[in-house]
């Protein structure tokens, strides 16, 4: 146990350092190239106005958004996997992202997306969608006198996700051309909310929910032992389960609302983290969140740096990178 904790600590630190380096690389990436020195100047407030605009108005918001979306997805994924004791659980496979997505699409169809009220409405409705999905899946997979089987839950999630996807497509088809293009890019995972106004809403939400989850890391450790054992150790199972699950759904819904749908991030980031730093949530939760942030930011930097794939939504690149990894996991799991 001691060895693992030491490793957890170093893995988290390594991820944080990597993320910092990646942010620097990402700041340098784009149509107009800036030298590292010039970026330093911007932060010291001694740069030209042009460079300041590039960094503060174009690159920083995008980077912060990518990191936040990945951070939220990675955190929500690890909590869901622990609560359900299911390796394949994630906001994507449980259909929670799809539910949040459907409601986001309703906002797009019903309101002007850039108008002020929809900015605040968006995360709230996404949360409503995510919760609806979660409850629906639980009701469908739940049977009396039997524990909810892990594969049954995922199959149900996949099916409900497909249904929500079809409804989303149906709404998409009713949109006008402008909204349609936005909807299609959103659906492919385009990190559209790269604007300080949106980040101003998203940052406190992600930080708040994440800190709440982190404050319960000991309880998550107990849940990982199984509900019976956790109960024996004095955890109020039902209350804790519901409140932690709600928080995880909220965290992923906020990410979906501003970033777009990233199916695999919430599934893969926890696996990478668990593999490297073991099952102690004091380190697992931050490590998984950071891994998610790294994944999304790396994919986004790739999209912006390479001419070959410029203009392709980030989500597509993430799927191309992470679907093979997921298949590898699937092949290994018994």
């Amino acid at each position: 146990m001691k060895v693992k904790q030491a490793r957890g600590w170093s893995v988290t630190l390594a991820f944080a350092v990597l993320l910092f380096l990646l942010v620097l690389v990402s700041l340098n990436t784009g149509k107009m190239s800036l030298k590292l020195g010039e970026i330093m100047e911007v932060f010291l407030g001694a740069a030209s106005e042009r460079n300041e605009t590039i960094v503060y108005q174009f690159r920083m918001p995008r980077i912060v958004l990518a990191a936040l979306v990945g951070f939220g997805m990675g955190g929500a994924g690890v909590v869901l996997q622990t609560l359900l004791r299911n390796d394949m659980a994630s906001p994507g496979t449980l259909g929670i992202s799809a539910g949040a997505g459907l409601f986001v699409m309703l906002v797009i169809a019903g309101f002007q997306i850039t108008a002020l009220p929809s900015r605040y409405l968006l995360p709230v409705l996404a949360f409503v969608g995510g919760i609806t999905s979660a409850v629906l899946i639980f009701l469908l997979a739940y049977r009396r006198h039997a524990e909810v089987s892990p594969t049954g839950l995922i199959l149900t999630g996949v099916a409900v996700g497909t249904g929500y996807g079809a409804l989303t497509l149906m709404i998409t088809l009713k949109l006008d051309d402008n909204q349609m293009e936005f909807a299609q890019r959103w659906n492919a995972g385009s990190l559209w909310g790269d604007d300080w106004n949106y980040i101003g809403i998203m940052l406190p939400l992600v930080a708040g929910i994440w800190l709440y989850l982190y404050s319960r890391y000991r309880i998550l450790d107990l849940f990982a032992l199984g509900q019976l054992l956790a109960k024996g150790l004095g955890v109020r199972i039902r209350y804790q389960f519901v409140s932690l699950a709600l928080a995880a759904v909220a965290l992923s819904s906020v990410s979906v609302a501003f970033g777009g749908s990233f199916f695999f991030v919430g599934l893969i980031a926890p696996h990478i983290a668990r593999r490297l730093c073991g099952g102690n949530h004091a380190w697992l939760l931050p490590a998984s969140s950071l891994a998610g942030a790294l994944l999304v930011l790396a994919a986004d930097t790739l999209v912006r740096s390479s001419i070959a794939i410029v203009g392709i939504p980030t989500g597509i690149v993430i799927t191309l990178i992470s679907a093979p990894y997921f298949l590898y996991l699937l092949a290994r799991i018994k």
Binding site: L155, L167, K334
Partner: protein, 343 residues
Amino acid sequence: MTQPQHSAGRSQGGRLFPLYMTAGALMLLAAAAASVSFGAADMSLATAWGAVFGFNPDISEHQVIRALRLPRTLAGIVVGASLAVCGAVMQGTTRNPLADSGLMGISSGAACGIAVSLALVPGGPYLTQMMFSCIGAALATSLTYLFASAGGRGMTPQRLVLAGLSISMLFGALTSAIAIKYRIGKEMIHWTSGSTASISWIELAVAMPLFALGIGTALAISRSVTLLSMGDDVASGLGLQARRIRLIATLAVLALTGLAVVIVGPIGFVGMIIPHLARFLVGADYRYIIPMSAIYGAGFLVLADLFGRLYNRPHETPLGIIFAVIGVPCFLYIARKIRRETQ
């Protein structure tokens, strides 16, 4: 399933088989007639009849029927039969009740093949698209099977669905990337939402031989599929070369899925639902299930297409959506049933 039940189901199903087939054929005929007559503009059945047998190029309604409605109806029949037969063959050979060419990523692979062909050989002949589509289908199938059967416990339905899901997401992402990169998004929309709207006679003519070959193969191996569905032990005990039959079955599935996707795009759930319906009606013998699936699949798709045209006129509701709305509850029901049986 115990043996007496099984044989009882077969004999009863066999007795009722001609009846169900006639009913299915009548339903298909009625659906086809309705599909030719109703649409953005309604026409009488007599006009439709005239367009087919006494074609008069001066009547604009005859033109519409000849150029749009007839090929569309035929396309629905071809695709519906293909997908349902694919599902039946796959369910039998893999012993997996959730098998479906849409859910297992085969259709996404085929669509991705079409995107590649549009990007590499723009404006190429129709045959090229079909070839690429079948190659994409083959690639996706082998990947799905590979990952679903890797690891200790072999290919459970759940694993197959999860592997199929990720393979179809992978190919879906590749398709979008190619569509954006080569600016063929507009051309690809036809293949991503699933629509029979823009079928031409030439496309049907190219697809027809492949269709006949695929369905013929499926019918020819139907007896062996029944044996395979009882498990490899039984099948090899009865002297069946399981491997060879599986290979032939897979080739037939690839051809049928490839052509279905070229004609209407990836559509899920048809291949899963229809064979279950057939099995419910005629029992577990694939000699009956496969022809039943062909007829009922065709009728079902034509009806769904008609519904998509009539609901919310004059806008069209894509087939993919209609099938998802019908298919998801069926999927949940079937998945729940298998879990109950396996536990």
